[in-house]
């Protein structure tokens, strides 16, 4: 079974450790959740895992590949996708164009092919367009397909980000607060989509504050507090744990 | 190169550096609070220079000329803030930067149309350099350097002792502080624009006294001021002054090796190297330059 593992991950600023000896092991086909009070280091962990921040110590291993020295671009190319806490849509591009950018193999991104192999570019574009149409339907964004992404609602932007990362054929996706600022109906939609995708073989690690929605969705739950991994296990068990309640519930 | 030659170049570089220190300080103070490099800095220098020039012609007093220059500089700077920058303060860096280019153009255009392009000079008695064992010391340079040091001292007293100066530095470090702690940002802004304008105005007057006056004179100050501020670390007042003096001395010392033309280019090269090696500047803590 392919795994994502971290060993003794540290991120220190001088004496202060934002991440302290984080060691985890999760299957790349599972649906995992992560909770913790604000400032616990969850988003920082995401940044280190995806390569946007560099750890001061420790290792990250993705399906047998050592990740800790790889750049963010390289990690993404290995099939490690992510979304962001505050959506990073391409605001001056349409929803459709946003999704198209996500596609991995685009001969049209090479200047040489663009000018000398128009046929190949055209064929690849047609294939990408087809996938985009499916994604639009899957995420129910067809109605806004031609709108500029900057004008979408918060929930729609989250869906768009998910769609865009899906276009890049990821094996595993880090979702950073997919439900934040999203209306409850849409939350159900997003959960349903994540579930379907997981059944198709894509694994997830999801940071969230919305405990009920997360509880129903994930197989297991990690709890972080002040840079350390406090607990890990089945959602019901973890949430019932007294230590977890003390750390997390107090400030929620 | 003898030691006397070396000293001559270093001293000249010190004066050149001090001349750039004032606009460099202005650039860094504006960047600290308003978060953009103000491309109109040079033209405020020029405007102040003209103000000082006319004050001198009317009063014959160098002191009043300096004050006149400072006043004109402050007024022009405040006008630019109220008429051009204030409304767009929350916009992107490039918006503010391009607006400042426009402001600079406008100031230069008014100066050009009002006063023409012939070079003007302060009618000051010519002084001869004193020869001190081969080291040449020009009394005018000493006086002007003294003026600049005095102005710098005054500004630093304000920044580090006066409440408004401390607020200015606090806000530059953390812009959100204003909302949290009740520091009245608007008042600090007005003080900042006035002070930077006055500083530029004095720089223009001093520059005019040392060389000549022309509407374009500010532009030749701008890139060196930017370079000095970047080398010292944008937003860091000590850095700006140190960067300017460093730049001036390094440029002068390099002249025997690279010539007059390339000594100017050297400034940009040094700035580039600093940005590549230590992007936050020599005196700043690491932060987001990338």
């Amino acid at each position: 079974m392919s795994m994502l593992t971290t060993t003794g991950l540290d991120l220190a600023y001088g004496d202060f450790k934002v991440l302290n000896g984080v060691t985890m092991e999760m299957s790349l086909s599972g649906l995992h959740g992560m909770i913790g009070p604000n400032g616990a280091g969850k988003s920082t962990l995401f940044a280190v895992l995806s390569g946007f921040s560099r750890q001061t110590a420790g290792k990250v291993n993705f399906a047998g590949t050592a990740f800790e020295q790889l750049s963010a671009v390289e990690r993404a190319r290995h099939g490690f996708g992510r979304t962001f806490q505050v959506p990073r849509e391409f605001k001056h591009l349409s929803v459709r164009e946003n999704l198209k950018v996500g596609a991995r193999h685009q001969p049209g991104e090479s200047l040489i092919k663009l000018l000398l192999a128009p046929g190949e570019v055209r064929r690849a574009e047609a294939a990408i367009s087809e996938r985009v149409e499916h994604t639009l339907d899957f995420l129910k964004l067809r109605a806004v397909a031609d709108n500029l992404a900057g004008g979408l609602s918060g929930g729609q932007k989250k869906l768009l980000e998910l769609g865009r990362v899906l276009m890049s054929d990821p094996k595993f996706i880090l979702l950073d607060e997919p439900y934040a600022g999203v209306n409850p109906v849409l939350i159900e939609e997003i959960s349903a989509r994540i579930s379907e995708l997981n059944q198709q073989g894509i694994g997830f690690l999801i940071i969230e504050h919305n405990l009920e929605a997360l509880n129903r969705l994930v197989d297991d739950l990690y709890v972080m507090d002040r840079g350390t991994l406090l607990a890990h296990g089945k959602p019901d068990e973890v949430l019932a744990d007294a230590g977890v309640r003390a750390a997390y519930m107090g400030s929620h | 190169m003898t030691f006397a030659d070396f000293l001559n170049l270093a001293l000249n570089g010190l004066v050149e550096g001090l001349l750039i220190a004032l606009p460099a300080l202005a650039v860094t103070l504006v960047h600290g609070l308003a978060r953009f490099p103000n491309a109109a800095t040079g033209d405020v220098v020029a405007a102040g220079g003209f103000g000082g020039y006319f004050t001198f012609n009317v009063t014959g007093s160098l002191l009043l000329a300096g004050l006149g220059g400072a006043l004109v500089g402050a007024l022009v700077s405040l006008a630019a803030y109220y008429l051009a920058f204030k409304a767009i303060m929350r916009r992107s860096v490039i918006t503010l930067l391009l607006t400042s280019i426009g402001v600079g153009f406008f100031i230069r255009s008014v100066l050009g149309m009002s006063f023409g392009h012939e070079l003007k000079m302060f009618s000051l008695p010519l002084t001869r350099a004193i020869n001190f064992h081969g080291v040449l010391i020009n009394p005018t340079d000493v006086q002007l350097a003294g003026v600049i040091v005095a102005v710098l001292a005054a500004v630093f007293v304000m920044l580090y002792v006066a409440p408004v100066g401390r607020m200015m530095r606090a806000l530059a470090d953390d812009p959100d502080l204003g909302r949290v702690s009740g520091i009245r940002k608007e008042r600090v802004m007005v003080v900042m624009w006035s002070v930077t304008g006055a500083v530029c105005g004095i720089a223009g007057t001093v520059l005019g006294m040392r060389t000549t006056l022309a509407p374009e004179m500010g532009w030749t100050m701008l890139l060196p001021a930017f370079a000095a501020a970047v080398i010292g670390g944008l937003g860091n007042p000590v850095g700006a002054v140190a960067g300017a003096i460093l730049l001036g001395v390094v440029q002068e010392l390099s002249t025997p090796y690279v010539g007059f033309v390339y000594k100017i280019a050297l400034g940009y090269v040094v700035m580039l190297l600093v940005l590549l090696v230590r992007p936050q500047g020599l005196f700043n803590r690491p932060q987001g330059v990338r």
């Binding site: 946007f52 963010a72 671009v73 993404a76 190319r77 996708g81 992510r82 962001f84 990073r88 849509e89 391409f90 605001k91 001056h92 591009l93 946003n98 198209k100 950018v101 996500g102 991995r104 685009q106 049209g108 991104e109 090479s110 663009l114 000018l115 574009e125 500029l148 980000e161 990362v165 | 953009f36 490099p37 051009a84 992107s92 860096v93 930067l97 391009l98 607006t99 280019i101 426009g102 153009f105 406008f106 100031i107 230069r108 008014v110 100066l111 149309m113 392009h117 890139l223 930017f226 370079a227 970047v230 390339y262 100017i264 280019a265 940009y268 700035m271 580039l272 940005l275 330059v289 990338r290």
Partner: protein, 295 residues
């Protein structure tokens, strides 16, 4: 009259090429290049020197100009990748000034401040007005080809991705694409287009000096793409046309105002451009033909 119109059109199309260069870099990719005039100058000098010192025919000097200007953009690209907007603006400005200083200092090659005179016209055997018309036709052809290339680049997956880089580089990285390759390419292509414009300029004006390549020109072109609308080919073209109308229009006004000198006129133009920059950035940053964006 024909000659006057030809002159206006030549300047206009040269400005269009420069606007394309800048818009590709800033409008489409979000790169703040304040050093445009440097590459314009490199193109002009390369073309002049290749024609005169190497004795090659003029039409060979144009690709040479594009090549040198494009190659010079590459180190700028490497530097640009690591810098934030405000630093990038200052560095690119410094870069174009360094180029100008090198042109001034290396007078064994460039004749320094005295400049290069007697640059041959494109078709030397013809009369000067016929030669000028020929240059205009060649220029329009080159501009039309450049427009086609720009169109192909911008309305394509490549164009999509560079705009994505402009909008959010971090998100592009998270998708497994490396922005630095695109940024470097865009700077090189833009540099080459600016170099092409420079080559035409040199052969049109036949006498070039370093003082013709000062930052004011860079900001005139910035004004043009902002007026016309960034990230649009139509915007670049209309902006350049408007710029020429503005500059020529203010020159006409001079006829009605007595006692205005050349320098006074230049000052007035500078003031008009300055005010327009301020007004456009405040009230209509998307330009005349740009779309009102989401922000």
């Amino acid at each position: 009259m024909v000659s006057y119109l030809a002159t206006i059109l030549i300047i206009m199309v040269i400005y269009i090429l420069l606007a394309f260069s800048l818009d590709l870099q800033y409008g489409f990719t979000g790169l703040i290049n304040f050093g445009l005039v440097g590459f314009f100058g490199v193109g002009a000098y390369t073309s002049a020197l290749v024609t005169m010192n190497l004795g090659l025919p003029a039409w060979l000097s144009f690709p040479a100009a594009m090549l040198v200007a494009g190659l010079l953009s590459w180190p700028l690209g490497r530097i640009a990748l690591r810098l934030r907007d405000d630093y990038l603006a200052i560095v690119t400005l410094g870069f174009s000034e360094i180029i100008r200083l090198v042109i001034v200092k290396e007078d064994w090659l460039t004749h320094g401040v005295q400049g290069i005179s007697g640059i041959p016209r494109l078709w030397p055997n013809w009369s000067s007005s016929a030669s000028e018309l020929f240059l205009l036709c060649a220029l329009i052809t080159a501009a039309a080809l450049t427009t086609l290339v720009m169109r192909r680049i911008t309305q394509s997956p490549y164009g999509r991705t560079i705009q994505a880089i402009r909008d959010d580089e971090v998100a592009v990285i998270a998708l497994g694409k490396d922005p630095s390759i695109f940024k470097t390419q865009v700077l090189v292509i833009g540099g080459a287009i600016a170099g092409l414009a420079g080559a035409f300029y040199a052969h049109y004006i036949t006498y070039i000096v370093p003082d013709q390549f000062v930052p004011i020109t860079t900001f005139y072109i910035w004004m043009a793409i902002i007026m016309g609308g960034v990230a649009r080919l139509l915007g670049s073209i209309s902006g350049a046309v408007l710029l020429v109308f503005l500059l020529e229009g203010t020159r006409f006004l001079r006829g009605y105002i007595p006692g205005v000198t050349d320098a006074g006129m230049a000052s007035f133009q500078l003031g008009v451009i300055g005010v327009l920059l301020i007004l456009f950035m405040r009230w209509r940053p998307q330009g005349l033909f740009g779309k009102r964006s989401a922000t």
